[in-house]
Symmetry: C2
Subunit: 288 residues, 2 copies
Amino acid sequence: MASGRSTPASPPAGGAPRRTRGRGIPDATVARLPLYLRALTALSERSVPTVSSEELATAAGVNSAKLRKDFSYLGSYGTRGVGYDVEYLVYQISRELGLTQDWPVVIVGIGNLGHALANYGGFASRGFRVAALLDADPALAGQTAAGLPVRHMDELEEIIRAEHVSIGVITTPPGAAQQVCDRLVAAGVTSILNFAPTVLSVPEGVDVRKVDLSIELQILAFHEQRKSGEDHLADEPPAVVSRPGAGAKAVAAAAARAVTRARGKAAATAATEADRGDDGDVSAVVPA
Amino acid sequence: MASGRSTPASPPAGGAPRRTRGRGIPDATVARLPLYLRALTALSERSVPTVSSEELATAAGVNSAKLRKDFSYLGSYGTRGVGYDVEYLVYQISRELGLTQDWPVVIVGIGNLGHALANYGGFASRGFRVAALLDADPALAGQTAAGLPVRHMDELEEIIRAEHVSIGVITTPPGAAQQVCDRLVAAGVTSILNFAPTVLSVPEGVDVRKVDLSIELQILAFHEQRKSGEDHLADEPPAVVSRPGAGAKAVAAAAARAVTRARGKAAATAATEADRGDDGDVSAVVPA
DNA sequence: CCATCTTTGTGCACACGTTCACAAACGCAT
DNA sequence: ATGCGTTTGTGAACGTGTGCACAAAGATGG
């Protein structure tokens, strides 16, 4: 999972066997509902009246038993011997996800990624409405992106209150993320989607989900390495490295420098990054 | 986790108790390694020599027991009573993730998001090198993005073979994603990061991870709804809807239409989407 | 050299998620 | 009506992930 909520996984109410009925849908299931919804919407547009769990599961890329169990948490929609009524399921899932209501959203940080998100069709088609685009750079203010004017950060609090925004999207450089987050929360936002490679700290009751491109790529690299290297390498540490036990730090440092060299060489085309003082990760996708 | 691999979670080798030593790191741990690496890199730049599991866990946003267990899968780095040697750990994690080698990557679909990714500093700083930017639109070919020339899709196979690219990033509209994916795989790519809202089908041995903005927002909306609605609503279905049992499809259809209306009203500002025939989800972030 | 203090590494129990497999429910044909 | 084929809904087994709590290991000071 490339994300996590800030709240520690919902404390077991009081001792009762959670998930009594309707309430308490497992997180893993919630995360898959949008997938089902997408597949169902596609079927709906092709005017398909019903689907079996098998068909729908294939379309959504999951296993059919899992899908049936997921749906069972929502209730007993579906008819044995027939399948699920497409329109009805679309409605039920939409309602469960809260997509039957209007969700105004602000996007903070209008760099490349902010632009991309502003243009994202998937927002509007799911009940999300971009209430405002915000950026700290005064030069951007006044310009338009995706038909919406870019407004200055100064207006943040006013916009959030006036439009009743409860969801904020952060696409700023990592250095500004926490500060922006704090302002969003102070102004009343209770859900944040964070694209900056930073760990945000938020008060109780505020949800944070994060999307991190770099992490996804690194996970791919891990599996890729396994595929190519299989068993002849990566089983024992390279000879040059030794544990930094009892004051052998110099050795460790040397090893670390070797890494830096290797990476520097690899990235030679892109930039001179080995000696640039970036904070943990080079800025977000946003250059501004 | 906003993603999933195509392979069914690695078959238990032969019956042996997986995770014997060094080999077989749990997926959940692998997904956190990049987090630790980022926190460690930040410490390294501040020239901090050692960290305790407690400090590092806080910086990475996880619990310290989990962090220690994660590290124990890599081996017994760390010194009791002291903590972990920062440089040494950076090296070990980098090696485990495969970041000590060069990973050429191609980005297919140079719209807004493709641009954003091309400019992403996090790539180069982690051993990833953008080998080429590709787009099907001939008008884009020749232009440059992030200092790199945009090349036409025709060159895809040649580039992948010449540069030994094994990782591909798809940022095309959803309609083109599967086709692009097939070409990438045929040309030798074995890991794919998919930003298009589509389920990709790939042959055995190819890993797919997906990043989906729309899904993350929908998950936030779900929790947001729970927060505001608490217990007075959403417990039982609205009166207007009834199960589509024994031929009562008209009722379900009416309910579905109600949803469409609600969404149409919500998204009135953005576009007339209720009657546009998009395929399951409106195109990716990429307009091209 | 011993006592004390700190911090790791991990056994264990529990919670969560996934998958199997099957009874119950339904449509349909006879 | 009755029986047959189909598909859902779910109990139960299993595997994975999480967190507690503590022994073992090293550092440090006397």
